[in-house]
């Protein structure tokens, strides 16, 4: 089933970490397996933020050997980082999840590609505004573990996952970062039926996939289109005809938030729009969790695409 949510403030920043936590907690019944956030803070001009995981959470229960492996992986990871950047700060929310603030010397793409060759290491996000956090458990647990409630920013998307066609692990959790393109993330509710055909096509064009989750395709597909000069709105519109299946998905870039709904309108989304705030979620109850006063909301129709700017 899965639950998705998005929020964007126009012309100001707000406590999007806390807001997204409330929204995702209200959607917990739609997906108890994992929770993920893609939050956009900062001004986009500062240091590069990299979120990375060096093991799966389930690995931590497999004995003490994993702790040595994690130490080795972090050493190797930081060795690669230092070849390309200066580490300004480092935080470790859990044994397997790290956040680096980097002053980069060259293009981050090359560094990201080298890092991802390390066994067990996956970059969750890379960008000047995007910070992507995902883990097993509900929103309250993840927000506490990663200290997300104090996060200020302009916009965010989030996801509560009910695993269907792939595993219950961080790799298969949403949101997906559009490797290796900075600051693009995707959450999705639905099922993509031409996933393998499209994935093969994308891989032939040189894109990489980290999981077998069909939702990752949307991130790669969007990044491919944006890199080829398309606007977010053009990419979302094109996807309705090129992607088969039932889906509603949200895409965030450094200063935009967009949504697309499939041709059957089979997956829900409720929208609230005011002059300075747009909130959307799979269910009204998520929007009500941050806007308890009486408001006007509506369901977007089939093949509807919308894009909002900060």
């Amino acid at each position: 089933m899965c639950g998705i949510a998005g929020i964007i403030h126009r012309g100001k920043t707000s406590g999007v970490g806390s807001e997204m936590t409330d929204m995702l907690q209200a959607l917990k019944h739609r997906g108890p397996d994992s929770t993920g956030y893609a939050i956009y803070g900062g001004d986009g001009e500062g240091e590069l933020i990299m979120r990375v995981k060096v093991a799966e959470r389930e690995d931590m229960d497999k004995g003490s050997k994993i702790k040595f492996q994690i130490r080795d992986r972090i050493d190797q990871l930081e060795g690669i980082i230092r070849e390309h950047a200066t580490i300004k700060s480092k935080d470790q929310a859990t044994d397997y999840a790290l956040r680096y603030s980097l002053s980069i010397n060259d293009k981050p793409t090359e560094m990201a590609a080298t890092i991802e060759e390390l066994e067990g290491v996956e970059i969750l996000s890379l960008g000047r505004r995007l910070e992507l956090v995902k883990d097993l458990g509900d929103a309250a647990e993840v927000a506490t573990d990663y200290d997300l409630k104090s996060f200020n920013g302009t916009h965010a998307i989030g996801h509560t996952r009910m695993a269907t066609e792939s595993d219950v692990d961080i790799r298969s959790a949403h949101p997906y970062w559009a490797f290796p393109y900075n600051d693009i993330s995707v959450v999705h509710n639905g099922q993509i039926t031409n996933y393998w055909i499209m994935r093969r096509e994308m891989e032939r064009m040189g894109h990489r996939f980290m999981s077998n989750c069909d939702s990752e395709l949307l991130a790669v597909y969007t990044a491919h289109n944006l890199t080829n000069g398309e606007s977010l709105e053009e990419s979302l519109t094109k996807s309705i005809h090129e992607i088969d299946g039932v889906f509603t998905y949200l895409v965030a870039t450094r200063d935009e938030l967009g949504m697309a709904k499939d041709t059957m309108a089979a997956k829900p989304l409720v929208l609230y729009e005011s002059d300075d705030l747009i909130a959307m979620a799979s269910e009204e109850v998520a929007i009500r969790s941050i806007l308890p006063e009486e408001i006007d909301t509506y369901d977007p129709y089939d093949e509807e695409v919308r894009v909002w700017h900060t």
Partner: protein
């Protein structure tokens, strides 16, 4: 009906063939209308275990800190005490509120509801001063539900009777599989509205999305605005004087008659070439399909 040879029939369009063979939906729709206006109609059925409520006995529930189950349980206990007018405040988008009520009741929600609101009902009159999520009024059998704002998809799925009214716009698949009753929408409706509709009537004052009335067996859809496309076997039909008087009467009940009246409404019925109807002989079927 004037006699037409096989060759002449083959020259006609599908819709003309259906009419020429006397197999238009008007016959069945007319029968539905006769039931609607039957002066000998029995009074509303009441279940023997239904509580005897008094409309003048009024109370309120604050749903803010209650779960959906707690609200519904509280509702039942108040009905058992004879309360006939109940106001529920702060529903805050909770799911499944006000379901399975099988007796008379005047129920008012001050705020918006989530999914599957007021489903499986047989009797209550409900007003929602807010919005509803997906599948409002599902399987409703009698009574009325009036929503002041918008509604989500599958509005009135499998409804069997009563009036389900949304003064705003609704999502996709409105009235899917409906088997009776009336759905009224003040604004627009999305794709596949009236999908596999079997009986009953739907009025949409605004526009309709694609595949309107797809695979409908019977029933009637009235659209006041534009229709993006008709579904399989959904065909336009003539808006009769009986239709017009019924539309005025029904929309008037809820104060929803459009400013420019109802003469511009389009009527959509089943072409009746998709399903296996008993009134067609196999040879006739072969001829028209």
């Amino acid at each position: 009906m004037a006699y037409l040879s096989d060759a002449e029939l083959k020259e006609l369009t599908q819709e003309e063939r259906v009419k020429a063979l006397g197999m238009t939906t008007e016959q069945l729709t007319g029968r539905s209308m006769a039931i609607e206006f039957d002066p000998e109609e029995e009074k509303r059925f009441t279940y023997p275990w239904a509580p005897d409520v008094d409309y003048n006995k009024r109370t309120e529930i604050d749903a803010d800190n209650l779960t959906s189950t707690e609200v519904n349980t509280k509702l039942r206990s108040l009905m058992a005490e004879g309360y006939g007018s109940i106001v529920i405040r702060n529903p805050r988008g909770k799911h499944g509120l006000g379901v399975g009520i099988l007796s008379r009741l005047n129920l008012i929600f001050e705020g918006s509801l989530g999914y599957f609101a007021i489903g499986l009902n047989d009797g209550p009159n409900v007003r929602i001063n807010g919005r509803v999520g997906w599948s409002c009024g599902e399987n409703m059998m009698s009574g009325s539900i009036v929503i002041e704002k918008n509604a989500g998809s599958t509005f009135g799925a499998a409804i069997r009777g009563g009036d389900l009214v949304c003064k705003g716009s609704v999502g996709s698949r409105t009235g899917i599989d409906m088997k009776g009753g009336t759905i009224i929408v003040g604004g627009d409706t999305g794709a596949l509205s009236g999908f596999m509709m079997q009986r009953g009537r739907m009025i949409v004052c605004g526009n309709a999305g694609k595949n309107l009335g797809d695979s409908m067996y019977d029933g009637t859809i009235f659209i006041g605005g534009n229709i993006r496309s008709l579904g399989v076997d959904a065909v336009p039909a003539e808006l009769t004087d009986l239709d017009k008087s019924w539309l005025i009467r029904k929309l008037g009940l809820y104060g929803m008659i459009p400013e420019k009246g109802i003469k511009h409404f389009t009527k959509i019925v089943a072409g009746k070439q998709l399903w296996n109807y008993d009134n067609l002989e196999p040879t006739e079927k072969k001829l028209i399909l």
